[in-house]
Amino acid sequence: MENESGRNYWAANIRLVTVLLLIWAFVSYGMGILLRPALEGIKVGGVDLGFWMAQQGSIYVFIVLIFVYAVMMNGLDRQYNVEEE
């Protein structure tokens, strides 16, 4: 790991995790709680968007985030040739 490829692998990992965690925070704390009053007018069926994100939507996004992470990280492992034998 004390080489350029190792450092690049770790930097790519940190970038990926940062982006995914920004989305994680935005859908839950952002849309579900803090921005809810601003989103009042947008409806999902019979409830407002903020309510739906807080009680349903954020959970679906969480699932997608973990699977995206798994696919992309397993890809990075192969790209940098550090996957398990």
Binding site: G45, I59, Y60, E84
Partner: protein, 591 residues
């Protein structure tokens, strides 16, 4: 067939299944006992993790909490699922690569200090014991309500079952049992929800029912709920929250706490590879979401069903006569969870919010003397759900088996975390490093049996603070274990002094804040503030929401102390390098 016979049959069948698995999946080595031989398929581990995670609280209490809190109940939904994103992205793959058996072992090795390991053991045991008491209580209560035996008999039966598969099989036995328990609990949870969603909204998918239309009136379900409860003086179901800051911190504390719970983390040690740990976290959340996205629908619909049962034609007409209440009302009155008091002696049940000013006027006009449904335990929302919706007996029996599965599966996971930290960390790691594998395995089994005994004792004699332990368990996990693990992986610079002082500072401020409102060690009369209510909370932040602040304190203290002292030795920095790359994980499993 009558309900009692049916319940005995269904619960008996599930128990027979668990015992069968116990004998089939016996553990022969410490590797099998602690980590199921690291041979569990990621999807299977995801299912086991879901059962491990979803406790009596998730199964029995959560929907009821949401039913009464409305929108704000989302803090439990997001908090108890969002933690899996942190776990998957920040901890699970790296801890799997590290390739050891327990959480304190990682903390001890990474921070090259038995002191750090010891602090982690204390946190782990405190978290897990407080958590397991609630599960044991849940087992006893489920037995006594559904099978009409006393709490002690129920508890001993539950302890006996857990003893069989956890002591014999360790992690291996627990894993396969948890998979079976997941299937039982998810079926038991979703079947009543599907029926109720069909009744109210005409769609069999509860997630769609929640945002659908109320069939009888052709208006959105949410509008119908709001109408029904606001005319009784209750808060609007989807109304705004008291404090966005408190809700945010509360949710964050539950998320960080979830990611730091040792009994969940160790489940990811059981998969064969690092890439499997990544997949497995995703599968775990899929299986958890099957319940967690149904729960808000169950909560909302139960709230409506209960209210319209008592006020069949709204507040303008008379409420139901006590003599005419449905059977479930009488059944649950007997358990003490539901209580009617005819304050104005008119034989009708006036159920309304008597603390609302608008209602006081109306009550005066109509001759009401206060809310007459004097006790309405939230747990009824799930437990009595099938009865309220008029579903057949086999569904009610299934709910009993589901509640037991949820409590037993979580109890087993917690007991394993406790026993492995005693036999592997305390005994083998610190006190008697030279014992053989056979002796360690025996010690693990004895520790497991001891932990079951302790959990059973507290289940029978619950300490007065039983209701407060959720705040304590999540606060501790958030403020101690999660930051230590994360810094151990993502920083090479954090050293033993930083980690130890960080953990102690994090736990310290969190406990101080909880105790200031709830009493020193939860002893009545020792609290600093007169009550744990919003007007006394600093900036409106509740004690349950403080774990996130504790975690922040941990990070800050660990950083500055580490920067002021020497960097960790070279071999520790190499260890961090090695856990960051998946290659070589197979070799580490030999231990």
């Amino acid at each position: 067939m009558d309900l009692k016979t049916m319940t005995y049959l269904v619960v008996g069948a599930t128990f027979a299944l668990y015992i069968g698995i116990a004998f089939w999946a016996r553990a022969g080595s410490t590797g099998e006992f602690y980590a199921a031989g690291r041979g569990i398929h990621p999807v299977a581990n995801g299912m086991a993790t879901a059962a491990d995670w979803m406790s009596a609280a998730s199964f029995i209490s959560m929907a009821g909490l949401i039913a009464f809190q409305g929108y704000e109940g989302a803090k439990f939904l997001m908090g108890w699922t969002g933690g899996y994103v942190l776990l998957a992205l920040l901890l699970a793959p790296y801890l799997r690569k590290f390739g050891k058996f327990t959480v304190p072992e990682f903390i001890g090795d990474r921070f090259y200090s038995n002191m750090a390991r010891f602090v982690a053991i204390i946190c782990l045991i405190t978290i897990s014991i407080t958590y397991v008491i609630g599960q044991m209580r849940g087992v006893g209560v489920a037995f006594s309500r559904f099978l009409e035996v006393d709490v002690a008999t129920g508890l001993f039966t539950g302890m006996g079952i857990v003893f069989l598969y956890a002591v014999l099989g360790g992690m291996k036995g627990i894993t396969y049992t948890q998979i079976a328990q997941y299937c039982v609990l998810i079926t038991a949870y979703t079947i009543p929800a599907i029926f109720i969603s069909m009744n109210l909204t005409g769609t069999p998918v509860p997630q769609l029912g929640l945002i659908g239309n109320y069939q009888d009136a052709g208006i959105p379900l949410m509008e119908k709920i709001n109408q029904t409860i606001t005319e009784l003086g209750f808060k609007q179901y989807d109304g705004p929250v008291r404090s966005q800051l408190d809700m945010t911190l509360y949710t964050l504390s539950l998320m960080i706490g979830t990611a730091g719970l040792p009994h969940v983390i160790i489940r990811f040690f059981t998969v064969p590879k690092v890439s499997d740990a990544r997949w497995s976290a995703g599968w775990a959340l899929v299986f958890i979401a099957l319940l967690y996205t149904v729960a808000p629908a169950v909560g909302a619909m139960a709230r409506l069903n209960v209210t319209t049962t008592i006020w069949p034609n709204g507040v303008q007409e008379a409420p139901i006569e006590y003599a005419a209440v449905p059977q479930w009302f009488k059944t649950w009155e007997k358990t003490g969870l539901l209580k009617f008091e005819d304050k104005n002696n008119d034989g009708k049940i006036q159920f309304y919010n008597d603390k609302s000013d608008a209602m006081t006027t109306l009550a005066g006009e109509r001759g009401w003397s206060g809310n007459e449904l004097v006790k309405f335990d939230r747990d009824i929302m799930v437990l009595a759900n099938p009865e309220i919706a008029g579903l057949p007996n086999w569904v009610i029996a299934l709910v009993a088996a589901g509640g037991l599965a949820a409590a037993l599966s979580t109890a087993a996971g917690l007991l394993l975390a406790i026993s492995s930290s005693i036999s592997h960390d305390l005994l083998k790691g610190i006190l008697m490093p030279n014992i053989t594998e056979g002796t360690e395995l025996l010690a693990a089994r004895i520790a497991m049996a001891g932990a079951i005994g302790v959990a059973g004792y507290f289940g029978l004699n619950p300490p007065g603070f039983a209701a407060q332990v959720v705040a304590l368990a999540f606060g501790l996990a958030a403020s101690s274990i999660f930051p230590a693990l994360m810094m151990g992986i993502f920083s090479k610079r954090i050293n033993s002094h930083g980690a130890i002082l960080g953990m102690i500072a994090g736990i310290g401020v969190t406990l101080a804040y909880i105790f200031a409102y709830k009493g020193m060690f939860f002893i009545k009369g020792t609290a600093i503030f007169p009550a744990s209510t919003p007007e006394y909370w600093i900036m409106g932040v509740s004690p349950e929401a403080f774990g996130a602040i504790g975690a922040l304190v941990n990070f800050v203290v660990a950083y500055f102390v580490s920067m002021a002292t020497a960097a960790p030795p070279k071999e520790i920095q190499d260890l961090v390098e090695s856990i960051r790359v998946p290659r070589g994980a197979g070799a580490a499993t030999g231990h």
